[in-house]
Symmetry: C2
Subunit: 459 residues, 2 copies
């Protein structure tokens, strides 16, 4: 390998959807907007003639935003553009056609009922791709939130760049609708764990790992710390040598006309929930040369491309001689943040399991009551009493029993999913503790990167 080897990688990330405010200012093209409610997962389409179908009351500016996004991506010619919340496959197909000359490779990750919303456009050929759909992703009866219907996932794309293997991941975790009373917290922690574990198991032979996406996690949130500690990924915003963009790197800012200002009230600068994270294996080092975000406008100061800000990173991969670089998982002092965050996550999942079981038990009581009520009503009908109302109530009760039965099964499944994540966490925690107790000179098997010189033993 040449000592001056270097690889430059320009990456773009954007959560594309925007629930458009009634009076979006500084509109450069397209019809005026009209709707106010904030919905996360509509399966809607574009409006302008060049783009198929659209749901006008949901997002009148989407056609214009998609067009401008396509133009911008074509002009900038990134190596990799990773997008979230592209709910409509027609939008993806429109962008695919538009970006074909600059980004010959593209993929849309299908999942759930609506779709994961994840897609990628690349200048380089995609060697392989796959995806992992999160086991837990909200509740089907929370239709107004709709995350459950989208089948949120993490997509993996494998690239071979200059002889190096790059594993690029794109993801979107469950939205946070109420930070004070977040009923989805356990699900988001479980998703962060599944994401970290998926990266851990699928990137063992990669030279570089890149994760982009809307994590719906603030930088100090449990899920984000868990992800960072277990994967060893670096945060481009914290590591970059040259940052230009919104204050504190926020990716939802009050200056953005599509952002619900009320939601951002507790955060005057905005919030940082979209990330570019990366790491290299031993023998290489990655640095983030520049990181830019949009600042509430499109990159040319027009109407924003979305309610989220775009992230644009330039990463530089260089050869670096193998060295003992104590990662957060090596040595007792460095390992303690991992143990502490694993413990915290276990506690959170314990609460989630208890809550899921409470709901399952509650549902089973309702089913019991419903069945009792049905028996009484059947007797009433048989006796020829108030028949009309009895029949109506009887059928309603059957519906209730069946509906609550489904809720019961769902929460049983939720408890199983949370128990599974907790078991994985507890196993890692156990091994981390073992390693800590044995001291830093002991290289625990869990953290032992596979060695080329194998230990020989006859059995």
């Amino acid at each position: 390998m040449k000592p001056h080897f270097s690889l430059r990688l320009r990456v773009f990330n954007l959560n594309c959807w925007a629930w458009e405010e009634p009076a979006a200012p500084r509109l450069t093209a397209g019809p005026s907007s009209s709707d106010v409610r904030r919905v996360k997962n509509p399966s809607s389409h574009l409006l302008v003639p060049s783009v198929p179908r659209g749901i006008p009351y949901l997002s009148k500016h989407r056609a214009d935003r998609m067009k401008r996004l396509g133009d911008f991506l074509n002009v900038e010619s990134f190596d990799l553009a990773l997008l979230e919340e592209v709910w409509s496959e027609q939008d993806f197909q429109y962008l695919r056609q538009k970006l074909l000359p600059t980004y010959p490779a593209a993929h849309y990750f299908r999942s759930g009922i609506i779709g994961s919303g994840l897609c990628v456009f690349s200048k380089h050929p995609i060697q392989e791709f796959t995806q992992h759909v999160y086991t837990l992703n909200g509740y089907p009866y929370m239709v107004h939130h709709g995350d459950w219907f989208s089948g949120k996932a993490v997509g993996l794309l494998v690239f071979h760049l200059s002889g190096l293997v790059l594993n690029a991941y794109v993801t979107h975790l469950h939205a946070e609708y109420n930070r004070q009373k977040d009923i989805y917290l356990a699900h988001r922690v479980a998703q962060a764990w599944e994401l970290a574990h998926f990266i851990h198991h699928t990137s063992k032979k990669a030279d570089m790992v890149l994760l982009c996406g809307d994590l719906n996690l603030h930088p100090k949130d449990l899920g984000f710390r868990l992800l960072k500690e277990w994967t060893g990924l670096h945060d481009a915003y914290l590591e970059t040598q040259d940052f230009k963009g919104s204050e504190e790197g926020c990716t939802m800012v009050p200056e953005n006309c599509y952002v619900n200002q009320q939601e951002l009230e507790p955060f005057p600068c905005g919030i940082r929930i979209d990330y570019v994270l990366y790491k290299a294996v031993s023998g290489f080092c990655i640095s983030c040369k520049t990181l830019k975000t949009t600042t509430g406008h499109d990159p040319h100061s027009g109407t924003p491309l979305s309610d989220h800000e775009a992230l644009m990173a330039t990463l530089c991969v260089r050869h670096s001689p193998p060295q003992h670089n104590p990662s957060p998982t090596h040595g007792p002092v460095e390992r303690s943040p991992l143990i502490s965050v694993l413990r915290e996550a276990c506690t959170e999942l314990d609460l989630g399991v208890a809550q899921a079981r409470w709901w399952a038990t509650f549902a089973s009581y309702v089913i019991g009551l419903g069945l009792l009520f049905l028996a009484v009503l059947s007797a009433l009908v048989a006796e020829g009493g108030i028949r009309e109302i009895a029949i109506l109530l009887w059928t309603l009760s059957v519906g209730l029993v069946l509906g609550v039965g489904a809720v019961y099964l769902f929460h049983l499944q939720e408890a199983k999913g949370l128990c599974r994540a907790r078991a994985e966490l507890q196993h890692v925690l156990g091994r981390a503790r073992e390693a800590q107790n044995l001291g830093p000179e002991f290289k625990p098997a869990l953290f032992l990167e596979h060695q080329e010189g194998y230990r020989t033993e006859d059995q």
Copy 2:
């Protein structure tokens, strides 16, 4: 590495469940059986006092079978025992306690509503584990088949044995209920693909790969050929130097008193649907020294342990100098079976997608009719006509519309899942064709195992 390095690995695999026939002969212990129907996924429990709870009408012999299985595993002291259809977590806990001295490590893979039924007992510490739940796994409304409720999955366990990394996978695919008219064929092919892809992406840095399980696939079935071609796994039955057991290595045989004889009528010797598959990376070779199956009785000629036969393999891992071993994915002649099987799988998934879309369309028509019917009934009720029946029908129609609405959403999701598998297959197929067109001297990126000597390039 010592030139005489060798590692011996003794592996046990069994699908544990047995739906017990009314007159199970040669019973050595336990109460007499009573039931006839064949059910795949009951969430049932054990009967005898030493083991918690039980559902007597489902499997009166289960307590006895579990006890004998535990005794046998303790006596034999395998390196690894992989079990399927352990539907009850209490059964797992019972075995865990019983096997603790011989198999200090164990794990139960939780998923779905009932559970995946997969578990493992190991003499060696489990370094890591994770699981992947199959996207498609039958239909929730096919309650009598029940596969959907079990959340079928593949479990991965990472072991470090004598300095080598072993990735052991255990799985159980969707059952086949009617070979002539198999409505689950597309799902099973998609599962086989997901399994192969999961192994492909998670085993890149493993030295040895082992897959055990009940694949519900005959050796010539599309799903099995797809799995073998894409992963390069070897079939222990075909490769072993010393086989003892049932004719043609069958794992469901007519001699087994728990087997439904009618199901096996077209196959006089029985069927082979449970497998031990393995492979080693370059630098090692694995051979199967011995493979044994039970033959319709328990290993000591008593009542069988299950309706499936157990597989017992002795694998031997040896050091072997790196050589150009043309795998089925290298060179046009060798690559063609892969291309052919990928094509066949794409066709099968096409049919599956068409069927899923047909059901979704059919459901949408029923919803439309139901809504129309509701409108007419509402008018009837409002006019004070035949009110009793109208109210009854109205509520039934509401139930129908909601129920069929769920079916509609389910089939939308099914179509998305099948499209996702098809997209992955088509991508691999495209790259395999490219490679074939470029000739054997071209090492395509898709099949290029990651090289230690990187190509250097300045960008």
